[in-house]
Amino acid sequence: MTRPLSRRPISRRRLLQGAGAWAIASPMFAGISAAATQEMPAIPALVSFLAGRSPRWERLRLELPSLADNGQAVPMRLTLSGPFASGSAPQSIHLFSEVNPVPEMAVFEFPVTPPKVEIDSRIRLAGSQHVVAVAVMSDGALFAAVSEVIVTIAACLDGS
């Protein structure tokens, strides 16, 4: 004797609907978790600079091309979104490289609070890597941003 099925069998339509919803939702969750717990690249100079402090992954943006043809000059833009409270003005932004022989690439300093923090420059990259920027505020708050770059022709290796 066959027992009647206690559950309604899942129809093909229900299954596809569920799969579709999961496919849409899962990258969104991945994005949220990546923003909240961004992993700090292991750069000794950066670790000693942070000295145990953990910056927040907000407000600061480090824009680099995802693919740089030539590591000798890679365009870079740093943006720190305001507004800046009088007690928490930007003091400096430190730039660290994961692969370069000199990991401390540059420090941008603000003796007075600028109208907006947007800095463009061109950097050298000795290979594909993460570049990290850390902004230091006058109240000691730290904001960080990371960018990953693939470099096809590395600086330094070019012997010309």
């Binding site: 401390e104 007075v112 600028p114 109208p115 947007e118 463009d120 050298r124």
Partner: protein, 106 residues
């Protein structure tokens, strides 16, 4: 030493942001390169760059070989009053560079 090119708006309203663009001619020798004879070329990069607005420091950069040759910088300064922006930089060899630009605030 090196010369530079500076780009500023012709005039800026008081309290608004002045967009400053400067490009300095400098090889920014990394110290990892060899010359045609195979001898290493000594490191010589601009170490410090500073910008003063009517004598008051408003922006500075500590550089390394991580900044590309012929350093280019774009940054913002609050327009207070008409005057000058003074730029000064010094490299590993101790050579100093200077440049000046007039700021017109309306």
């Amino acid at each position: 030493m090196a010369d530079s090119r500076i780009n500023l708006a012709a005039a800026t309203r008081q309290g608004e942001a002045i967009e400053v663009r400067i490009s300095i001619r400098h090889a920014m020798e990394t110290g990892y390169r060899t010359d045609d004879g195979g001898k290493p070329v000594a490191r010589n990069v601009i170490r410090n760059f500073a910008c003063r607005y009517n004598g008051v420091p408003v922006f500075a950069v500590r550089m390394s070989s991580g900044i590309a040759a012929n350093p280019y910088l774009r940054f913002f300064v609050t327009a207070r009053e008409s005057g000058t922006l003074d730029f000064e930089w010094v490299d590993d060899a101790g050579a100093r560079g200077m440049a000046q630009a007039a700021v017109k605030v309306v």
